[in-house]
């Protein structure tokens, strides 16, 4: 049944990021921190950002969850690394608007592949979780203790 819909959600790239997540692991030193958690299904991720002069110089994440949430977290890190805060926020907004509403997928680049998730309404929050955590991290202006402290 419905193989097409499943294949559409579990795209190769998603499965690949799920197996080998990028930027996985905490940062030695970070200036911003975000925590995304879905108590109902147990998805739980922490994001560590090192922001200098308005630019996300470095980003890492830890945690566990389903293929959608993990690949979303992984791809998020690759997308925002090196970007300015404003640009990252904009990307986040565009992505959420694309997933939650009928927003355009232009300017989303490879994030477009999450299109298939929209056919699985209960899985949508798996795709959005890490972006929510990013927004939270970017709001967080005060420095957070580095993991070394």
């Amino acid at each position: 049944m419905d193989n097409a819909r499943l294949k559409n959600m579990y795209q190769e790239m998603i499965l690949e990021h799920n197996k080998s997540p990028r930027n996985f692991g905490p940062l030695d030193c970070h200036t911003h921190y975000g925590h995304g958690k879905n108590p109902l299904c147990g998805d739980d991720y922490e994001f560590f950002l090192d922001i200098k002069d308005d630019v996300i110089e470095s980003i890492g994440f830890t945690g566990d969850g389903c293929a959608i949430s993990k690949s979303s977290a992984s791809m998020l890190t690759t997308m925002v690394k090196g970007k300015q805060i404003g640009e990252s926020r904009k990307l986040s907004e565009t992505f959420l608007d694309f997933i939650l509403n009928e927003g355009s997928n232009e300017s989303l680049g490879k994030l477009k592949i999450f299109e298939g998730v929209k056919q699985f309404p209960v899985r949508v929050k798996c795709a959005t979780l890490s972006w929510r955590a990013l927004e939270q991290a970017l709001l967080n202006t005060k420095h957070i203790a580095s993991t070394e402290a």
């Binding site: 049944m1 419905d2 193989n3 819909r5 499943l6 294949k7 959600m9 579990y10 499965l15 109902l40 299904c41 147990g42 998805d43 739980d44 566990d64 969850g65 389903c66 293929a67 959608i68 993990k70 699985f120 209960v122 899985r123 798996c126």
Partner: protein, 409 residues
């Protein structure tokens, strides 16, 4: 022997349950989330529908026909439940919203009789509904919550349990069957041990009523709680059995209409049992539905059902073991509930792929986070069987899991 085998493999009740005869995503529905909620037989649906379309009225105070009939039906339902549980008196059957309200009722009301330093003993197997109300009680009254551990194979550690019991233990509360991993607790033995130190015992029977014959006098427990929707009745109703002498001593929980004797602005006196604990308009149509579910359960041969469900369980476990999965919890003395993780695939993804096959299982922590932690997992895939499932359902689950492997493995 042959006859038994035959009856065991031919038990087929699917026809009694309309939902099981719907198609799902183009396949027949394979419903394996019975621990969350069971389906309802036609007789229950018809009783509810008949009442609502022909006889709907309120209970207790009406002298008119509709109200008399509604009252009689609710009384009959209480009588059926008394007999079903083998309670001594109908006064011991309190209608509540579900297991959760039943346990909260005891925690609030019996809790009023507890003192600082009194201990409450639960187990590592418990559902949040049998953990959090006791934590809150401890906060309110300065009592102490103790937790009896389980062994790696998912059974209660009886020695540890014994050691935790003392004359400080005022209340013991454990599940009859674990919703998460299926463990069947040796309830009678646990009650006996608790009584030796003078503790009162509540059994969370949410999972038990659909799987085995419950006899509260034989169990010798003080309270027994379960939900209608988990034993072929509707949502919105459940039962708290309580020993009459204890219920008599306990203050009311919720207050309002129907549970009072007289009210003045200075003070009020409370009605006799069971009404003392049933404030407000009861869940009339739901109580009637539950009464009908009891009638349905009375037609079942629990021995036969247990045999049958164990066959399903054995087959499921055997076939699961051939896949790349890890079973969590016990392998014996358990109800037909299997909990497992798939190596390298997250439970949530498994659930989605199975859904596409029309196979309904539960993935997550099953409201037993401490138990998940005990097994160092954040969630499991749980397939919980009922007597209306069959070998085809087991096969559908296994085929679905193979497909998961294909897609995501």
């Amino acid at each position: 022997m042959f006859v038994k085998e035959k009856s065991v493999t031919t038990l087929n009740k699917k026809m009694d349950f309309p939902v099981l005869n719907t198609t799902m995503r183009g396949n027949r529905l394979v419903y394996l989330d019975n621990a969350a909620t069971t389906q309802k037989p036609t007789s229950v649906l018809e009783a509810m529908n008949h009442f609502l379309t022909k006889e709907n009225g309120t209970v207790n105070r009406g002298v008119y026909y509709l109200s008399q009939e509604a009252t009689k039906k609710c009384d009959d339902s209480r009588k059926s439940l008394k007999t079903f549980l083998n309670a001594k008196s109908e006064k011991e059957i309190i209608f509540v919203k579900g297991t959760t309200e039943a346990i909260n009722l005891v925690a609030y009301s019996y809790g009023e009789l507890m003192k600082p330093g009194d201990e409450i003993l639960i187990t590592e197997l418990e559902h949040h509904a049998n953990i959090v109300p006791w934590q809150q009680l401890c906060l309110r009254r300065g009592c102490i919550l103790k937790v009896a551990p389980i062994t790696d194979d998912g059974h209660l550690d009886i020695n540890a349990y014994k050691k935790l019991l003392s004359e400080k233990t005022k209340l013991v509360s454990f599940c009859h069957i674990s919703n998460s991993i299926g463990t069947i607790n040796p309830a009678r033995e646990l009650v006996k041990l608790a009584k030796e130190v003078g503790a009162k015992v509540l059994i969370d029977g949410a999972q038990a009523v659909s799987h085995l014959k419950v006899d509260v006098q034989d169990l010798d427990c003080d309270f027994y709680a379960f939900s209608g929707h988990k034993c072929f009745g509707p949502t919105g109703v459940g039962v708290l059995y309580g020993r009459e002498d204890l219920l008599e001593k306990m203050p009311p929980f919720m207050t309002g209409g129907d549970m009072i004797e007289t009210v003045s602005f200075q003070s009020s006196s409370f009605a006799e049992l069971p009404r003392k604990f049933e404030a407000g308009t009861p869940a009339i149509v739901e109580i009637i539905g539950l009464g009908e579910a009891v009638k349905y359960m009375n037609t079942l041969d629990y021995k036969e059902i247990q045999n049958y469900e164990q066959k399903l369980l054995e087959a499921a476990q055997e076939k699961l073991n051939e896949l790349d999965i890890t079973l969590i919890g016990p392998t014996h003395t358990k109800a037909a509930i299997v909990s497992f993780v798939m190596n390298a695939v997250h439970a949530h993804d498994v659930g989605t792929v199975l859904d596409m096959e029309g196979v309904a299982v539960r993935v997550g922590h099953h409201c037993t986070q401490p138990l998940m932690k005990r097994y160092n997992v954040s969630s499991t895939i749980r397939a919980s069987f009922c007597f209306y499932n069959d070998m085809e359902d087991v096969d559908a689950l296994i085929n679905g899991l193979k497909k998961v492997k294909e897609f995501l493995g």
